[in-house]
């Protein structure tokens, strides 16, 4: 049972877990997927949202222009496999980024050893497969 007390203009209610078991009757629904406040990386019209905080400083840094070109190219690429027609753009982005090692570091050790690369690649790949799994989940939820 919850109880309540008042202290001047302030009202305080204490609720137990049981009190909160029944669903809310408040006139508001919150659906996290419909949160239109922060559109995320891809805008509803399919374009890339360069303002997305998730990009950090990638689109706005010194290599913003090459990054945007490369990423846009990849995004709209119809080639099979996707992005294979964007090699030039990726190359110039790489070139630009290597000029600013402080801003675009290769992991902790700025080691261009092939081993290191593979290690990094694997880590990112692992993260991505995690994400893939979750995307599958969320797509399923969205569909239901």
């Amino acid at each position: 049972m919850s109880y309540c007390r008042e202290q001047g203009k302030d009202k305080i209610i204490f609720v137990t877990k049981e009190d909160h078991e029944s669903p809310s009757t408040a006139d508001i629904t919150y659906n996290p997927e419909e949160d239109d406040d922060s559109p995320g990386l891809i805008l509803p019209n399919g374009e890339i949202n360069w303002q997305c905080p998730c990009l950090g400083g990638m689109a706005s840094g010194p290599c913003g222009e090459p990054f945007k070109e490369a990423f846009s190219c990849f995004h709209y690429s119809q080639a099979e496999p996707k992005g294979s027609d964007c090699i030039e753009e990726f190359r110039s982005m790489q070139e630009c980024m290597s000029k600013y090692p402080e801003l675009y570091p290769f992991d902790k050790d700025e080691d261009n050893d092939k081993e290191e690369q593979t290690k990094t690649t694997t880590t990112v790949e692992q993260k991505t497969s995690e994400e893939v799994a979750v995307t599958k989940e969320s797509t399923a939820t969205r569909a239901s």
Binding site: D10, Y30, C54, K82, E110, N112, T123, E125, E130
Partner: protein, 700 residues
Amino acid sequence: MFRVAGSVTASRLSAVCCRTVTAKQFQVHGASLHVLSSETSRKSRNGPAHHRIPPSWQSVRTMASAGDSQAKINYIFYGLAVLFGGGGIIYWWSRKYMRETSKDGNKTKKSTAAVPAESKEATEPVSEKPTSETTKSEAPPAELPPTETPAEAAAPDAESKKLLDAMPQSYPDYEVMPDIPGHAKYLLIGGGTASFAAFRAIRASDAKAQVLVVTEEEELPYMRPPLSKELWYSDEPKLVEKLKFKQWNGKERSVYYNPPSFYVEPKELAYQENGGVAVVKGRKVMKLDPQKQVAVLDNGWEIFYDKVLIATGGRPRNIPVFERASQEVKDRVTLFRGIKDFKRLDEVSRNASTIVVVGGGFLGSELTCALGKRSRDSSLKVIQMFPEPGNMGKVLPEYLSQWTTAKVRGEGATVKPETFVKRARFSDGKVILKLNTGEEISTDHVVVAVGLEPNTELAKESGLEVDDTYGGFRVNAELEARSDIWVAGDASSFYDIKLGRRRVEHHDHAVVSGRLAGENMTGARKPYWHQSMFWSDLGPDVGYEAIGIVDSSLPTVAVFAKATEKDTPKAVVEETGESLRSVTETEAIKDPSDPASATGVEPSASEKTESATDEEPAPDVEAAAKLVAEVETENRVAPTPKEDYGKGVIFYLRDDIIVGIVLWNLFNRMPIARKIIKEGKQHQDLAEVAKLFDLHADED
């Protein structure tokens, strides 16, 4: 290099969305971690290894894999990455080879030798590379590869500065180019958080934009929250010296938003093919001419602009007693705001025996907690005083303000509410403060944190309106003051479509409004829409996030999860002192709506306690004992009824509409809070609204 992008982006993304809280560490907040999404970072505060999937990767995945062949995409990505990573190496090694065998070979060898062991081999050749490339692309007339200047310092800024010095010889008309441009397409006045968010937004929309920042400070843009939070709780003094701190994931972060190599020298801004951001330090804009579209600096220099943002923030307020005091007293008073003040206080606190903090709001309370922590390992005594009856008195309803005050005391500080300084004098190396209570305190140093005076100095001369109610420059819902003049951050009194006109002095607001202004400067024409939030922590146990108008003078309705066995004895003692525990039990029994339970205090074996999972009991008992002793001597704690305000939500009402929400020790719920404010409906039963926050989620 998508791997480069990938590793950078992925790490950034994971940083954004995955957070853990350790009891030992101060609860680090999203905004300090990732500037542009304060709350996504705070989302997983309570879960270790809860990898909240970064939204962008989700979306990338969704777009990239229209149904199947996801694994295939993976391979492509990383194939490309390895290919270009490899290609990249080959590329710059070949350039290095070419350079070393060029006729400037001697100079190159000298510069290679000059690089101290510290700087990585990798960076040196890389930094040489742009010299030749950029010159080639920007100054076709240049015949020779430029001379390499000896890259002397290991510090990247010296390195890149030298590098930049190397280029100009080949820039056309470089000798007659002024140090500060005479024209800037985007001029940003002020070099703080709003300005940073603005230039990031400008360049995201207009990737070749040339942005000029003019700041009075001698610092590049940096973030403020760590100066009263993370930097004080760091275990690594060497990092703190460099104004760096370790994030929850072990990664180091600087208070500076970007390293010096990110910025372009103002003199070279016009030459940059892809634009850039240049910062003019130590210069003040005295006035703007909105019609001629020119800004005049304190040295008389004029900068013509196309679009200008005023992000001048504010200056810390002082109290008249100290303004009138002698120089010896003034020398021992810090008006806390920036890096300079942090460094000063950090140093002072190592040697002082007493420090007094004047001010009971966010900054004052945070500094008190920080100094209180320091006082545990030293003989430092920390005293906080303010005119309100409790800490955060202007923000939290009284009962919570009292509870908070007890918490601050628990951090090792002496808190004197309803107290202010009447006189201050210097005597025998100490500052003697005479208080309104009659007490006299002798202290080594005083920190003043009594609010901010928005900086509108250039308003009058520039024909810009100042808000006489809220202070700051008056702007519309799109943050525009006059044509092509925007104002963001602490100095901006803006029209909030939902909540009405206001001025907000919080970090996230600086980010949100700075970003909005930046977008509008590139033509977005968007009104202020995304509500900013703010947060504070009171030591390792309690933290809250808030959104909207959080003013303690408004009526409030709060819903707290009822205390269960979470009320460990330690928690009870910490709060108000042992003596009140018996009062608690009596009250609990007497409670008519809950006759059977004496739940306030008895631990129940079946349910897991939240506190058990994230606290270390032993050391805090000492603090609690200290607290009890203090309570007995001071007798300042109001006899708070023994309810545990462990977790809950507080609604602030104006005409029965929720205009502000505080999430007390509840995380991951800001989006719901934001939606409630956005809808602005009148709700009949707030207890039902509170259900949306799932107060009991972390239990059992």
